[in-house]
Symmetry: C2
Subunit: 346 residues, 2 copies
């Protein structure tokens, strides 16, 4: 890996010097990602489920042991502060598998004020992702044929050759695959080597969360696609918010008000004209054809699948309507772009 970032105070490798090969391995074969920086916040104790239900803007009341759910977390004012996957590990234990913000402090603050009988901690759990069309065969070759039966967002907690881990059918791509939640950091090399060897017949490659693939299929990158004020409706993940829930949860009243008011801006897709653009993670201002401010890009990437430039942008109302024509600044000047719904449907 030649490019890295810092995520939850840890190093996250994000690309090799051959992005085309990274993309090809992920979409055609199998890719192995060190995503140990995707930390878990563990909530454990008699009040764990009730607390988690109060923390999450998505209804977790039906979350069974061995199942996971994508569960946006909003603050009391309805701002999106993280978008973890929540795993029900056992009767009284839940993991929030988090994006890059200190959810541990936030949960401790709320549980402390409520006086809940829980322990909130960061356990020794480091995810390793195996993603791509051959991920299932690779993982099954290590852990057994039962892996084929595992449903999406379901997991088993096992010991394999002395390695404690959770094998979950999940991951930050739409290529199918697994996240292996290693529960003993000293056994990382051992787990890596097992998967690496099993992936050889499938052409496994070292990879990382892939920006082109995740934009083509729209998986939200919290903190990149969102800013400090984004709410889940603006961030195009409103469908995961259970405002009809009868129980109270953090931010519920604020979110009800936001939904009633309607958003003033919205994360949308952009189809950008012209030659392939260099990936640009820095926000740049968009404008209408007559030059007025229309929002800002959050990510721009050339899509190998669609063979065109895609963008994600926070677009001001009413320019968020699909079909709206906008202008995007690029290193070679302004380029025409069209607003489309997410996920892309090209």
């Amino acid at each position: 890996m030649t490019v890295a970032t810092v995520y939850n105070r840890m190093v996250l490798p994000i690309a090799t010097d051959d992005p085309a090969a990274d993309y090809e391995a992920l979409t055609q074969r199998v890719s192995l990602w060190d995503v140990g920086c995707q930390r878990q916040v563990q909530v454990q104790g008699p009040d764990a489920l009730e607390l988690c239900q109060y923390l999450s803007a998505r209804d977790l009341s039906q979350l069974r042991i061995g199942a996971a759910k994508y569960a946006p977390l909003c603050d009391h004012d309805g701002r999106l502060i993280n978008d973890p996957v929540v795993l029900r590990v056992n009767e009284d234990t839940v993991w929030f598998s988090i994006a890059d913000s200190d959810v541990l402090l936030w949960i401790r603050a709320i549980s402390g004020e409520r006086g809940d009988d829980v322990e909130v901690s960061e356990p020794d759990v480091s995810p390793l992702a195996v993603q791509g069309p051959s991920a299932t065969d690779t993982v099954a070759a290590v852990f057994g044929e039962w892996v084929h039966e595992l449903k999406f967002f379901h997991f088993r907690r096992i010991h394999h050759e002395g390695i404690p881990l959770v094998v979950c059918r999940s991951g930050w791509s739409k290529q199918s695959g697994f996240e292996l939640f290693l529960e003993d950091g000293s056994k990382g090399d051992q787990l890596w080597d097992l998967i690496w060897a099993a992936g050889q017949p499938h052409g496994i490659r070292v990879g990382a969360p892939n920006n082109a693939e995740r934009i083509e299929n729209f998986l939200l990158a919290w903190g990149s696609d969102t800013d400090a004020e984004s709410d889940p409706f603006e961030a195009a993940i409103g469908s995961y918010i259970d405002l009809g829930a009868t129980h109270d949860f953090v931010g519920k009243n604020a979110l009800l008000a936001k939904r009633a008011d309607g958003p003033t801006r919205e994360l949308k897709g952009l189809l950008i004209d012209g030659e392939p653009l260099e990936a640009n993670p820095e926000p740049v201002g968009l404008q209408t054809p007559n030059g007025s401010y229309a929002g800002q890009t959050r990510a721009v990437v050339y899509s190998p699948r669609y063979e065109r430039n895609l963008g994600l942008a926070i677009v001001e109302v009413p320019q968020n309507l699909p079909g709206t024509k906008l202008q995007v600044p690029t290193p070679t000047g302004w380029r025409p772009a069209i607003v489309v719904d997410l996920p892309f449907d090209l």
Copy 2:
């Protein structure tokens, strides 16, 4: 600058390729630090002061407008979660000038649960530090002679040549100096250039928070000298905790219990024998002369002032007693060390 780290999701330059010159400029002349990553969490509104009093383990009831205080923040279980300097900016506005953790989320969680009438935000404020014996002359040459009259941990909020900023006598060194809290990020170059020009007669040098100087004088580096479970007594900043306060604050009961029980480990100084050691920020395990575990180093540095190797270490009770002989592993083998109180008094 040739060495940098990530702090509050921003880049913090930490050293040039000439550490001796960095140290000499800071302790003999004047050093200019970009510490924009030292973010402010602003609490504003009718309930701001009452909330801050509840958040802080140090009594802030006497904090006047224009004054600052070092105010450790502990969670409900008494763990030290940050150690900001708190500035009372005006009647209903307080800034927490924070170390590297998401205090914003933590404060919003608590104020949200309490229902306080406050707004908690991260304003456009980026500190620039001017530190060293000639810092006062440098800063006074820019802003005026009144700077000489400013007492330690006091500030004035001014506009200077169109630049809005807070001029505070403070900073993360014991060489005296100022932190300039720039309130308009677009004017960073302008402010930098003013200070840089005024510092020329004094031999100003670009610098950064200096590990050798801060260890010699013991300024706590939260997150480096502390771990996830450290409490303020263990971290040698217990004198800033006002357990005698009549009001309730977050973690008060837990801290009372911890003080009654006494610590099981404590941050102490180490005097390490032998030739100058390379600075090592990675914790390494300490042992007693008979080989049993005695704690771990948190920082090791060669002190130009004392011309010997110093360490900060979390030492297990009863090895925390001053004069205790321990062994420190180094690249050239085990070295004898002696435990001393903090701050160093050599």
